[in-house]
């Protein structure tokens, strides 16, 4: 296998950038205070991180291997198509269950849940994740579909 040095460096750089972005995505997942903010890290790490890694892989196998392979491109396209859908579904599910968002979030979809209670107690772990059981006067809010 003889890959020119510059190409080798380019592939290495792409893999490194991909790894760094994916790591940052995971860091975001761990550090963010509420569910909705956590959602941002992984969806993004998916797009750029995986994109870079795939591009590196594509270059490497096209040069060193058995001709151009398009599988990497297809995987990237699939991820780009599915990542936003899964993020959207997760956000919807969280909204539907009224998972609390952090206190400094502006315009929460419903007023009762804009301030999450103290960290969940062991006695009643479900309490902290949900708003009050009765939600009055939300008929006008179009985002909340009836359960």
């Amino acid at each position: 296998m003889n890959i020119p040095l510059w190409l080798d460096a380019l592939i290495a750089a792409l893999l490194l950038i991909g790894a760094i972005v994916a790591t940052l995505g995971s860091v975001g997942l761990a550090r963010m205070p509420d569910f909705y903010m956590r959602l941002h890290g992984p969806t993004k790490a998916c797009t750029l991180g995986v994109g870079c890694t795939m591009l590196g892989s594509l270059l490497y196998f096209s040069v060193a291997g058995q001709g151009i392979s398009v599988q990497e491109v297809l995987i990237t396209v699939f991820l780009f198509v599915t990542a936003p859908v899964s993020a959207h579904v997760m956000a919807r599910a969280a909204l539907h269950r009224r998972v609390a968002c952090s206190a400094n979030t502006r315009h929460p979809p419903w007023p009762e849940m804009d301030h999450p209670p103290a960290p969940p107690s062991l006695a009643n772990p479900g309490e902290a994740r949900q708003g009050p059981s009765s939600i009055p006067g939300e008929g006008s809010d179009t985002r909340t579909r009836g359960s």
């Binding site: 995505g25 975001g28 963010m32 959602l39 993004k44 750029l48 315009h107």
Partner: protein, 167 residues
């Protein structure tokens, strides 16, 4: 005519079937007979079985204009990934998250799906729900200072082009 309708029923989307077949062969990276048969079977069965879930056929007015759209999108993804990376490393207390109600002007379902996906793909924003009347898109933004500017940005950069291409 009846025969034609019969064919439509059993083979609802010829182009999509062909696309699936090509996709399968590309994924398998071969042109062997066995894979051709499997690909043809998948190409027929997937459209047939998912028939009830399909929306109306999207009409592309100027399909070629999707290319600059995706190029723009890719560039924006790159750019805002850097921004989000910086935000993630900031102390979380400094972030200013917000839910934003985005007034949509698109009416076509396929175009709406494209817009929602675009918003989710660009870092910093995730589309979180659509009102039942399909007029308001709820977006969660990780860090936003000027909400009006964000709405304007989405409108001019994504929604306008999508409307021209798809509606």
């Amino acid at each position: 005519m009846a025969a034609h309708r019969q064919l439509r029923h059993w083979w609802p989307r010829p182009q999509f079937s062909l696309f699936l077949l090509v996709l399968w062969l590309l994924l398998m990276n071969t042109l062997s007979l066995a894979q051709l048969v499997i690909g043809a079977f998948l190409g027929w069965s997937i459209p047939y079985l998912t028939q009830p879930f399909w929306p109306e056929n999207p009409r592309l007015h100027q399909a070629w204009r999707l290319v600059p759209y995706f190029a723009h999108l890719l560039w924006d993804i790159l750019k805002s990934n850097v921004t989000v990376a910086r935000l993630i490393l900031l102390p979380p207390g400094r972030l200013r998250p917000a839910f934003i109600r985005y007034p949509v002007i698109l009416t076509d379902e396929f175009a709406l799906a494209m817009l929602a996906s675009t918003i989710s793909l660009t870092p910093g924003t995730v589309s979180a729900g659509l009102s039942p009347d399909q007029k308001t898109l709820l977006i969660h933004a990780l860090h936003v200072v000027d909400e009006e500017a964000l709405i304007r940005h989405i409108h001019t950069r994504y929604e306008q082009p999508l409307k021209e291409i798809l509606e």
